[in-house]
């Protein structure tokens, strides 16, 4: 009887180990297959001609994605410009100002924003934000500005929940010490709480950037998808993600490989951002 249990224990442990390894396997497969399809073109066309090339004409042998890289960073910064102050304020409110009952209601409500699918954000962007920008700021409305507004709202839940965690993990004694010195609540938040939670807050911004740069469907719908570097916030643009999604369905041959090369660049950017963000979060935990 004991013996059967013993082997069963081992069996369970092996199965669970295999399950746990599956995540690594999937990550490995994703990397291998995107790199395998994406890298040959870097070899054929040249790294420089792809990353710093200005012209995207995949059927004519030009695979420059520089304008898309720039555009991706622009919308990400735009999103951060809109989302970071709002998100951080909400996190501060939730952690420092709101009462317990209010928090019980507000926190889930804010997290529900994350549940709304990106296509819905994109659609509402087309119906409300794009005409608003067109009427009040000029241009076609499909623009860096509209995209930044939509993405800014979309990254709010990420920024709020992670910076909230960072702010609440600041020890209560820090605040009490500050109050004891006669500081007001705002002085305490501004001079004590925020500096102590700095790395976590920065991590939330970087994870927000990761979300914004990876967002696809909403961006396709509001960005206008023009193939050039925008010169004003009212210009249309095309990001790395939308380039893939717009053309993948019908691309063949080198054209398809070009989309995978776009994917490789996106993957590298995302991995770097995630690495930095995790570093920030870990630092917070150690302290």
């Amino acid at each position: 009887m004991k013996r059967i249990n013993f082997t069963k224990e081992h069996f369970v442990k092996y199965v669970l180990t295999i399950f746990a390894l599956s995540s690594l396997l999937f990550l490995f497969l994703i990397f291998i297959f995107i790199l395998f399809e994406g890298l040959p073109l870097f070899h054929k066309i040249g790294l420089k001609n792809i990353i710093f090339g200005f012209k995207w004409a995949p059927t004519k042998g030009s695979f420059g994605i520089f304008p898309m890289i720039v555009s991706s960073f622009l919308v990400t910064l735009g999103a951060l410009f809109v989302g970071a102050p709002m998100g951080l304020s909400c996190a501060i409110y939730l952690s420092e100002y709101s009462g317990k009952k209010m928090k019980m209601f507000l926190k889930p409500a804010l997290e529900l924003l994350a549940g709304i699918p990106s296509v819905v954000y994109g659609f509402l962007g087309v119906v409300y934000i794009v005409p608003f920008v067109r009427n009040y700021f000029g241009g076609a409305g499909f623009s860096l500005l509209s995209t930044s507004i939509i993405l800014g709202v979309m990254i709010l839940p990420t920024i709020i929940s992670i910076s909230f965690d960072a702010i609440t993990s600041v020890p209560k004694t820090y605040r009490e010490g500050s109050f004891a010195m006669g500081a007001t609540k705002w002085q305490t938040i501004y001079k004590v709480v925020i500096p102590s939670a700095k790395s976590g807050i920065l991590a939330s911004f970087i994870l927000g950037m990761g979300r914004a740069i990876g967002e696809t469907m909403a961006v396709i719908m509001v960005a206008g998808n023009a193939l050039k570097i925008p010169t004003s916030i009212l210009d249309p643009l095309r990001t790395l993600t939308s380039n893939i999604a717009l053309e993948l369905a019908y691309a063949t041959g080198d054209h398809r490989l070009g989309l995978f090369s776009t994917g490789v660049v996106l993957l590298v950017i995302i991995m770097i951002l995630n690495y930095i963000a995790n570093f920030g979060i870990k630092k917070k935990v150690i302290r």
Partner: protein
């Protein structure tokens, strides 16, 4: 002139109040717009009849079936994998290089944007494994995509189960697996369900990863090898190609309401878990 700190304090407090309610206001406005624009076009007929003429007429029945099929199959695959991983990480090992690697894998998967899952699913399942645009390719892609959510929430839930319960179980000479199966998992169920519900919500709303792996056929799928269209993909096509605004709003209403309900259930379960152990 020096502004009084107490006055600044009051202004700042007002500002933060405003910010928080403004942000919640965004959610309220989104839901309200979808509701009021969509509700007039919703009927039983809309839900129970299939789209005709590219979605210009008829309902969304086949897309509801497509969504349910995709979500159920992915959850069915991802739950054992995810909960198993969480059990392994919390109950079967100590922190080591090995668990660090696994955690790195999970964190990285969580950070990969859905379009890259779409790209991967397209080249791996659709092309290389010759599954074509099918429910099978879609569900395998989505399984990988939702796995990190299930792992992380299950891990949190399992960690929240008090140590005493395990010690008592061991003292009654239960083995590790018996303890996990009969004590740890039952206590962690609400937390695990939270992860599952959040994943369902994510899968229901997903577009980029689904459209390139499952395709967008409007026919009712009859086998795993059939292409099918989810509600989110249908909504995207209706809106982007300007097929019908009314149908788009109505589809959005069904989509958003189902996701909200799913997420609210998830939070309810999470609160249950929290209040149970703290």
């Amino acid at each position: 002139m020096r502004i009084k700190p107490r006055l600044v304090d009051k202004i700042v407090r007002l500002f933060f109040n405003f910010q928080a309610f403004f942000t919640v206001g965004i959610l309220v406005v989104i839901v309200a717009v979808i509701f009021f624009k969509g509700a007039p076009h919703i009927s039983l007929g809309f839900i129970f009849s299939s789209p005709e003429d590219m979605g210009r007429h008829g309902g969304i029945f086949s897309t509801i079936i497509g969504t349910v099929l995709l979500v159920l199959l992915s959850i069915f695959l991802a739950t054992p994998l995810g909960v198993g991983t969480a059990i392994f990480l919390t109950e079967y090992t100590k922190e080591s290089i090995f668990t660090k690697f696994i955690r790195f894998g999970v964190e990285s998967l969580a950070g990969i944007p859905s379009i890259l899952y779409g790209l991967f699913g397209f080249i791996f399942f659709v092309i290389k494994l010759k599954m074509g645009w099918s429910v099978l390719s879609g569900m395998l892609t989505i399984t990988i995509m939702i796995l990190p959510t299930i792992i992380r929430t299950s891990e949190e839930a399992i960690k929240a189960v008090p140590r005493n319960l395990r010690i008592v179980s061991y003292s009654l000479s239960a083995t590790r697996w018996e303890t996990v199966k009969k004590v740890v998992i039952p206590s962690a169920v609400p937390g695990i369900l939270t992860g599952i519900m959040l994943s369902v919500g994510r899968a229901v709303g997903e577009t980029a990863a689904v459209i390139f792996t499952m395709g967008s056929s409007l026919r009712l799928p009859t086998s795993l090898m059939d292409s099918s269209r989810t509600m989110a993909v249908h909504f995207y096509i209706l809106a982007r190609e300007g097929i019908s605004m009314e149908k788009a709003y109505a589809t959005a209403l069904v989509l958003v309401m189902s996701i909200l309900i799913i997420n609210i259930i998830a939070y309810y379960l999470m609160n249950k878990m929290i209040s149970k152990y703290s």
